[in-house]
């Protein structure tokens, strides 16, 4: 970008240099001139409804709003004349006749703030201390700044019932001032279109069509509206009464492979809320419901394991960590490596993964390793890796002219990818969707094709063929895929920047390998870029750290050679073992029968199989580290709170067990010491570069690892709706996720019924 030439304007008799193409309000803020405003907000298109940011500009009639008026060279602006002050007070008075103001104009106002001692005498909604936004309310601040001390107009209390039927946040439109921020963020930033102004004039309300609930209206529950609301009209269920947070800690979400940045709100050493970071380069603040709302409920869940426990004939017995280490060491030492199976979660941090693989190889003598990704993909893993390890970055969507999404829906996950695709479609890119049921991208798509996953490969054949002929002539099978396939491919044929988004539905579909192969054809022959959305958060880190069978630390990272030969050790994952050790993994469906089960995780799964030893682990807001997203960027995890009860980090636990077993030289005191060793052992892993890249992998035996005729059939997990963390379905822990899941199940069922 070329540097813009600054222009000179006068604000309140002071000449200042400002960027061109900004509004007076932005110019004033850049120069520390305060102008009150309620409807304007950075990142949102300007609106000009609250009328508080009025100013006087020489040459313009009346009082233009500074949030909508662009600066011009030589402009003379006055922001604080007596007339403006008077008018602002009058306008604010009017605004407050639509908003309960007992917290603003009360005889005890000052004492109340200081001592919080005022009797809570007013009803729930109109009340002073009963507004969920108390102390965070922008109106309170503005009333102070504008200097309003009383209001003379009657209050129009609208008497709406508080809407509490949707998950995650409540809506009390009696507090709404119709500033439209929520609508703008929902439509212009998230491209979701759940919120709209309804009716007009004094009857104006905000919400979805036909008095539907947000769930019915296709709300993503991304909470963007809640974050921007200046009043208490929209509030997060879990944190509404907490008030202002003590601290904010920026970290990376580990619920999926996107790698969104989160701003954890911490109070009393607890994560109470999570906010997006609109300035982040990875996700631009476009986080999904899981990142926005699921974390406080997950990390503070009463289901969490609080202490080490061992199973006795009469139930679980709480033991000390020392006892737990002794027990684990004893059990692990007592069996041959071949009788052990260690299952490592791809949702651990790089540091945990590094320690885990070292533990497996050096302490346990290299027993078989397993991972949910290996189990889910089975013998198709090599094709999957070929796609996922070389994924394009999300910003390729910014310049894409054609986008094809396959089995992808970003309503409840992968939102930065979905929104980038929607944004592209809005600016004119051709968006095409392929899936088995409705996707949230359908609305903005040029065409959407619906069919059983088993037919996707066939469709992609026809699609590629039609593309090659630029939509001209008759394709085989175009009739079968009724719709405007030829039109679409014709529109796409002129484009040189095409992106395919492969969603998790592909991974969990029957005949996925054929789909993988077709996608590779688009990539290798037609130059399409591929973005893979998948739930295995730190899969890249797992392979980089070597916490994967047959892969040594750093072995797959680019090192000058063109390709590497890789053989996956063969394994029968259904064969009974003497001991299974689950490291941060809660999926009992992927483990074989065993005599002894060590369960190292934060929350118990709902399963008939009771673990023999439970080692409680901390979760990502509780211990630092790094993780790598699907774009292969190295992202940091920051510690926001202390350990939850007696839980500990995975690396810490494994280090201690190794110590008891007197094997390997584990001298890790903290994350730094692990990171130093990673640096030493994996010279290609340069954290400073913030990115890793893989060499081409030549799989021996085509990546087939399942022993003999073993077959694994993972349960179908079609979309982000059913996401789990460390093997525990979010719906098990987070109430709102359960509601969403149930809704999704029933609506997709009725969709199928309708078909």
């Amino acid at each position: 970008m070329t540097k813009e030439k600054k222009i000179s304007i006068t604000i309140d008799n002071k000449q200042v240099e400002v960027r061109p193409n900004i509004t007076i309000l932005q110019a004033a803020r850049d120069n520390n001139v305060y102008i009150p405003s309620l409807c304007a907000l950075e990142h949102l298109p300007s609106y000009g409804a609250c009328r508080l940011c009025i100013v006087e500009v020489d040459g313009l009639r009346g009082f233009p709003t500074s949030c909508t008026t662009p600066v011009e060279a030589g402009m003379v602006v006055r922001t604080d004349t007596a007339e403006i002050r008077g008018l602002r007070q009058e306008i604010l008075k009017l605004l407050l006749s639509e908003h309960p103001a007992s917290c603003l104009f009360c005889d005890e106002h000052d004492e109340c703030k200081k001592f919080m001692g005022t009797i809570r005498k007013v009803g729930v909604i109109t009340g002073c201390r009963y507004c969920p936004n108390d102390a965070r309310c922008e109106i309170q601040e503005i009333v102070d700044k504008v200097g309003l001390t009383e209001t003379s107009y009657p209050v129009y209390y609208r008497g709406f019932p508080v809407e509490k039927n949707d998950p995650f946040y409540d809506r009390d439109y009696n507090l709404c001032i119709l500033c439209g921020r929520c609508i703008r963020v929902c439509n212009s930033i998230r491209f979701n279109g759940t919120l709209a102004f309804k009716q007009r004039g004094k009857l104006t309300t905000i919400g979805p069509a036909f008095d539907r609930t947000h769930l019915e209206a296709g709300c993503e529950f991304c909470g963007a509206c809640v974050s921007v609301c200046p009043t208490g009209a929209l509030s997060t269920k879990t944190s509404k009464w907490y008030g202002i947070a003590d601290a904010q800690v920026g970290t990376t979400c580990t619920f999926c492979s996107v790698g969104c940045r989160l701003l954890l709100q911490v109070k009393n050493d607890e994560v109470i809320d999570v906010l997006p970071d609109y300035d982040d380069t990875v996700d631009q603040g476009l986080i999904c419901v899981k990142g926005r709302f699921a974390i406080p409920e997950y990390v503070n869940s009463p289901q969490r394991n609080t202490t080490p426990q061992k199973l006795t004939p009469v139930g679980y017995e709480v033991i000390t960590w020392d006892q737990a280490f002794d027990l684990a060491a004893e059990k692990l030492s007592g069996v041959k490596p071949d009788d052990i199976l260690v299952v490592i979660s791809p949702q651990l941090s790089n540091e945990d993964l590094f320690v885990a693989q070292r533990f497996v190889r050096q302490v346990l003598g290299s027993p078989p390793m397993m991972s949910s990704v290996l189990f889910d993909l089975g013998n198709d893993i090599s094709s999957f890796f070929d796609l996922v390890l070389y994924t394009s970055t999300y910003d390729s969507l910014e310049t894409a002219q054609g986008i094809l999404s396959v089995g992808f829906d970003s309503t409840y996950g992968y939102t930065p990818i979905g929104i980038a695709a929607k944004r592209a479609a809005q600016r004119g890119a051709v968006l095409v969707t392929l899936g088995s049921c409705d996707s949230n991208l359908d609305m903005l798509s040029e065409a959407s094709f619906k069919m059983e996953p088993s037919r996707w490969a066939g469709f992609l054949d026809v699609f590629t063929d039609s593309l090659a002929r630029k939509g001209k002539g008759k394709s085989r099978g175009t009739k079968e895929f009724a719709g405007n396939l030829n039109e679409v491919t014709e529109a796409l044929s002129g484009s040189s920047a095409n992106v395919l988004i492969m969603g998790p539905e592909v991974i969990f579909s029957y005949r996925r390998n054929e789909v993988f192969e077709r996608i590779k054809v688009l990539r290798d022959r037609l130059g399409w870029k591929i973005i893979v959305a998948h739930p295995y958060t730190n899969l890249i880190g797992m392979l980089a750290m070597g916490a994967f069978p047959g892969v040594k630390p750093g072995e797959l990272l680019q090192n000058g050679s063109k390709s590497i030969k890789l053989g996956l050790p063969s394994l029968d994952p259904t064969k009974r073992k003497k001991l299974v050790y689950l490291v941060g993994e809660g999926r009992f469906d992927i483990i074989p029968d065993c005599d002894y089960l060590i369960y190292q995780n934060a929350i118990m799964p709902s399963s008939w199989r009771q673990p023999d030893l439970i080692l409680p682990t901390s979760l990502f807001p509780e211990s630092p580290g790094t993780t790598i997203n699907v774009e292969r960027r190295i992202l940091t995890l920051e510690k926001a709170t202390g350990q939850y009860m007696d839980s500990r980090a995975d690396w810490w636990i494994m280090t201690r067990i190794a110590d008891r077993m007197k094997k390997g030289k584990f001298k890790y005191k903290d994350i730094n010491s692990i990171q130093n060793e990673i640096k030493k052992q994996i010279p290609n892993f340069k954290a400073s570069k913030k990115k890793v890249d893989f060499v081409k992998i030549d799989f021996k035996n085509g990546g087939k690892w399942l022993k003999g005729s073993t077959k694994v059939e993972p349960e179908s997990l079609p979309s982000a709706t059913y996401s789990s963390y460390r093997g525990i379905p979010l719906a098990q822990v987070v109430g709102g996720m359960k509601i969403i899941e149930d809704w999704d199940r029933s609506s997709s069922f009725s969709d199928k019924e309708a078909q």
């Binding site: 979701n192 279109g193 709209a196 102004f197 309804k198 009716q199 209206a217 296709g218 609305m443 798509s445």
Partner: protein, 149 residues
């Protein structure tokens, strides 16, 4: 048999600017905008159902419930107001037992107020279906209503 929504849609480009014309065509054909038609419009014009509802509820022209058999429009333009249009509306509200903008439970009448029917010299006027009744009084209107079943 009204024209299917799909064929109404096909007459328009897939652009947001066509939204209001599409809604007008559908209302002309069906008498109102149903949730089902909003869904179809949404897919065709690539605008969310909620936004479509937001736009359509802004304009006085669109209704979302099935209309009654007859529409009663009381003119409350300036001239009609001065000559007692509001009294007529009040009388109708009372005798039909509905408020302005509603439909009687037997679906016989819709009651609406309009800003001006442009017949100021004949005020006050009431429009029943396509017929305009001029110089209305409470009594005359009651008589006229009997002609509509």
């Amino acid at each position: 048999m009204p024209e299917p929504i799909e064929s109404i849609l096909a007459k328009h480009d897939r652009k947001q600017e066509e939204l209001i014309p599409v809604l007008q065509d559908i209302q002309k054909e069906y008498g109102y905008i149903s949730p089902e038609s909003v869904k179809k419009i949404s897919r065709y014009l690539r605008i969310s159902e909620n936004q479509i509802y937001g736009v359509s509820s802004f304009y006085a022209q669109f209704r979302f419930t099935e209309p009654g058999r007859h529409s009663l429009k009381v003119c409350l333009g300036t001239a009609c107001h001065v000559r007692g249009g509001a009294t007529l509306l009040e009388m109708l509200e009372r005798s039909l037992g509905i408020h302005c903008g509603e439909t009687t439970s037997d679906k016989r009448f819709d009651l609406e107020r309009v800003a001006c029917l442009g017949c100021c010299a004949l005020s006050p006027v009431v429009q029943i279906d396509k017929e305009i009744y001029s110089r209305m009084t409470v009594n005359k209107l009651t008589e006229h209503l009997k002609d509509y079943e």
